[in-house]
């Protein structure tokens, strides 16, 4: 029953992920945190792992969550869940729709959807920032403003913002570099 429930959760995520790339992240984040399957930190780590390993990010995260909750069987169920809506919808479209892109309604949907997905992903980044760049939980306990800021992390943040503005390597290189710096700094 719990497996079936997890299948349904990932099916929903697959069904409402539109626009590709990181669009699955806000949906996955809300579901996975609400269900208590991963912590914010674990979720952020999985984004890094998914960006550095082969395969689509959404599939990678689903596989990991499924495995962490129910072992190998769970990982298969979660992966099938996130993939199933794609397979059904694409088969229907490939079969019935001749010229999908020309449909005006699709263009209309995307004028609203694109900015919304941009905002959603920014929101997901903000949630991760609360643990990556700030010590929000410590601040709640001590109420000292200085405790709110994770100074070394903020310095790293600015450094990497500048670095990624002027260099265009694959994300994996920045992730490895940040990991090495992290070992020495934290």
């Amino acid at each position: 029953m719990e497996l079936l429930y997890m299948f349904w959760i990932f099916f929903k995520v697959g069904l409402f992920t539109v626009g590709g790339g990181l669009a699955a992240i806000p949906l996955l984040q809300v579901e996975v945190l609400n269900e208590g399957w991963l912590t914010k930190a674990e979720f952020a780590d999985m984004i890094a792992v998914s960006e550095s390993t082969p395969g689509p990010i959404g599939v990678n995260i689903a596989t990991y969550v499924g495995y962490s909750q129910f072992g190998p069987l769970g990982s298969i169920v979660a992966t099938l869940g996130i993939v199933m809506p794609s397979v059904i919808i694409i088969i229907l479209i490939a079969h019935f729709v001749k010229r999908f892109r020309d449909h005006h309604i699709v263009e209309g949907i995307f004028t609203g959807l694109r900015p919304a997905v941009t905002g959603l992903i920014l929101g997901a980044a903000a949630v991760i920032a609360t643990i990556a760049l700030f010590n929000y939980d410590t601040y709640l306990v001590t109420s000292k403003l200085i405790d709110l800021f994770n100074i070394p992390a903020l310095i790293m943040f600015v450094g990497f913002m500048v670095l990624t503005k002027f260099t265009k390597f694959h994300p994996i290189y920045y992730i490895v570099l940040a990991g090495i710096i992290g070992i020495f700094v934290f």
Binding site: G14, V18, G19, G20, G21, I25, V30, N34, A41, A48, P54, G55, P56, I57, G58, V59, N60, T63, Y64, S68, T79, V83, S86, V87, I90, F100, R101, H104, G108, F110, T111, G112, L113, R114, P115, A116, V117, G119, L120, I121, L122, G123, A125, A126, V127, I131, A132, L133, A153, F157, T164, P171, Y174, I175, G179, I180, I181, G182, F184, V185
Partner: protein, 185 residues
């Protein structure tokens, strides 16, 4: 006949396994590899068809890489072809992530691994922000789209409700805006 069908299914599985295996980061990163296999090596589609498949993959629900592989599989060998290409695409992810998950179980409490990930989390924020800036430049063009983006952002940070509401709501706003604009024009 059955033999030919079996060999095309195996080919679909192997090709998409390869694409899945060599695409790090998903989405757009897989396009060059996919083109090489599907257009150049096997001639399953022309460049134009390939771009159409990718465009459809982008504008339908689901993960782009999966959508595109499903589409090509269906065009080549029907529903069973779609299933084989999709399974090919997800198998490398599955094997690699399971191995990593096992590693995590062993080393998650290791102090060095924990420090490394504290650094990595910072760069995760940077990478997502960069993606958002890129998307924003293309998607936020007027006051309405800016308002939609800000509303979606606030929805995520202030509530723990599902973003599905935002996805559906913004799609409806988009349809209304688009149809009213067309009627005026």
């Amino acid at each position: 006949m059955a033999k030919i069908k079996g060999s095309i299914l195996l080919k679909l599985y192997v090709v998409f396994f390869r694409v899945g295996f060599f695409t790090i980061g998903g989405g757009y990163a897989m396009l060059p590899m996919l083109r090489k296999e599907v257009v150049e090596k096997y001639g399953w589609a022309t460049d134009e068809e390939m771009m159409d498949y990718f465009a459809i993959g982008q504008s339908t629900p689901g993960i782009i890489a999966i959508n595109t592989s499903t589409f090509i599989g269906y065009k080549k060998a029907g529903i069973i072809g779609a299933i084989f290409s999709t399974l090919g695409m997800v198998t490398p992810s599955w094997i690699i992530i399971i191995s990593i998950a096992m590693f995590f179980e062993q080393f998650a409490d290791n102090a060095i691994v924990q420090s490394a990930f504290m650094g990595i989390r910072v760069v995760v924020v940077v990478l997502i922000l960069n993606a958002v800036i890129k998307m924003g430049k293309k998607s936020i063009k007027n006051w309405v789209s800016l308002f939609v983006a800000i509303a979606a952002f606030l929805f995520i940070i202030l509530t723990s409700l599902s973003p599905i509401y935002v996805v559906v709501g913004s799609a409806i706003i988009g349809i209304i805006l688009y149809t009213t604009k067309r009627e005026v024009a």
